[in-house]
């Protein structure tokens, strides 16, 4: 579904990504691993259009999306979460989730501005319902009307995932979804990724937490020093000497 072809990103002399290429297949949980500084987050930023590529191309469903604006790429069905779990503190949880659906061009001006004071917006209601159901999925529906600023760390991550998933994207890039979480919550994240897949969203997970990642991922790409060193099923990857070397050092 998403084809990454020879993508390179250089910052000055530093080659953060060097001719990385792989394919994300529809409906397959894709894990991306690699030691710190191997270019995982840079890759996410390149896919979502935040960083212009130095070289290479990216295709979504066979159409090239290289160089598209980040907002366009997001509306084409590639959503992401952030490591630091940025929620909008002045909005409630459900409003945060609702903000995940947005398209300026398709905004219904009449519905937004020229609605009579007592007339409920059908679209807003729909959106709310959708958001509630996705909050239920992450088990946060009871917190729907709490303020985002009052949430604890793990809750923020869950809401963030819900926000990225509410628009039913084709691909959901999860950047360290389990960072800073305890074992129970980490397990929940793993479970959640499975649920996303059931909804028809293809999750792409970057994580340091190998235990979780190896459990949920069906296909794993390993990056080191900005280059792909290996890919395959979790089992093959775990036993690949190059991966062992990258993680544990050469013996």
């Amino acid at each position: 579904m998403l084809k990454i072809q020879d993508v390179s990103k250089h910052f000055g002399g530093l080659k953060a990504l060097n001719k990385v290429g792989f394919t994300i297949e529809e409906g397959r949980v894709h894990g991306i691993i690699g030691p710190n500084g191997s270019g995982k987050t840079t890759l996410f930023n390149c896919i979502t259009g935040l960083l212009p590529l130095t070289g290479g191309q990216i295709f979504l469903d066979g159409n090239e999306i290289t160089g598209f604006k980040p907002s366009v790429i997001a509306n084409m069905g590639i959503r992401r979460t952030f490591q630091s779990g940025k929620l909008v503190p002045s909005l409630t949880v459900i409003e945060n989730v609702m903000s995940g659906i947005y398209d300026f061009q398709k905004t219904d001006i009449r519905d937004t501005f020229f609605r009579l004071p007592f007339k409920k917006s059908k679209k807003e209601a729909e959106l709310r319902e959708k958001s509630l159901s996705i909050l239920k999925m992450v088990d946060m529906d009871k917190a729907a009307d709490r303020w985002a600023s009052d949430l604890v760390w793990a809750e923020r991550q869950f809401v963030q995932i819900a926000r990225a998933a509410v628009s039913n994207p084709k691909i959901l890039l999860l950047d360290e979804p389990a960072s800073g979480m305890g074992p129970v919550e980490t397990e929940q994240v793993g479970y959640l990724i499975g649920k996303l897949k059931l909804r028809g969203i293809t999750p792409v997970v970057v994580s340091h937490d190998m235990k979780m990642l190896m459990n949920v991922a069906e296909w794993v790409t390993v990056l080191n020093f900005g280059a792909k060193i290996c890919e395959g099923t979790p089992e093959t990857v775990q036993n690949d000497p190059k991966v062992l070397e990258a993680y544990l050092g050469d013996e």
């Binding site: 002399g13 710190n36 760390w153 793990a154 340091h208 190998m210 020093f225 993680y247 050092g249």
Partner: protein
């Protein structure tokens, strides 16, 4: 070197939390004079947190830290640095907008008296830095920055150096160089506390190790013991 068994640093039952996240849940460890001790564990296991709480960066920690038989728990970071512990932070932590020599002199911030002699000493150790002394640190390569960070640590006349993840994002060749330097420094008498994801390399370098998982020490022993322990692999690859 002949006081090999004297404990230079002792960390006793330290807790630390950042806001809602509990990073350390009762960690105890010790470093003896002239030792290289390595902290092993996946990201988020608490390696950096331990180093930062030893240095007193966060006042929210609980527990005690003893350095050279003195309780330093309640001292602020700059005072602890003066006592002789120095942290080489993860991601090098050099001041990118300043020149190499400025960065080095910052290391000797609280003790500029012998700065000249120390500069010659670190230039000897890292000739590349001598060449680039007037270059802006931001323009150095990753390996050079790591060397600069270690050199800066030496400028402060420490007795113990803590090095946090020195190999991140560095090519294997350079990582080997860095490790060689650490080994040399250790031979010169510096005690080293190292956190490293390159487990095998680190264990080969070090005398002892601690394995961390989610803010707790789960395993400890000499490097030889740990090298053959299958738990290590589990801690990293989850298998």
């Amino acid at each position: 070197m002949n006081r090999q068994n004297e404990t230079i640093l002792k960390v006793d039952d330290v807790y630390l939390s950042y806001g809602h996240v509990e990073a350390l849940k009762g960690v105890s460890l010790e470093v003896k004079r002239g030792e290289i001790v390595v902290l092993v564990g996946a990201n988020g296991a608490g390696k950096t947190s331990i180093m930062e709480s030893i240095l007193g960066v966060y006042q929210s920690r609980k527990g005690t830290v003893t350095f050279k038989d003195k309780n330093v728990t309640n001292l602020s970071a700059d005072k602890i640095v003066r006592k002789g512990i120095y942290l080489v932070p993860e991601g090098r932590g050099v001041f990118a907008s300043m020149t190499v020599i400025d960065n080095l002199l910052l290391g000797a911030h609280h003790n500029l008296k012998n700065a000249k002699a120390k500069l010659t000493y670190v230039y000897d150790l890292f000739p590349i830095l001598s060449e680039r002394r007037n270059q802006i640190a931001g323009t150095l390569s990753g390996g050079e920055r790591q060397m600069l960070a270690i050199a800066r640590a030496l400028m402060s006349n420490p007795e113990m150096i803590m090095v946090d993840e020195p190999s991140i994002g560095l090519a294997p060749k350079i990582v080997s160089d860095i490790f060689k330097i650490l080994k040399e420094l250790n031979k010169e008498g510096y005690s080293i506390l190292l956190s490293e994801q390159n487990v095998y390399k680190a264990l080969k370098l070090s005398h002892r190790g601690y394995v961390l998982e989610t803010g707790k020490v789960v395993l400890t022993g000499t490097s030889e013991e740990l090298l053959i322990n299958p738990e290590i692999r589990k801690a990293y690859l989850g298998a």
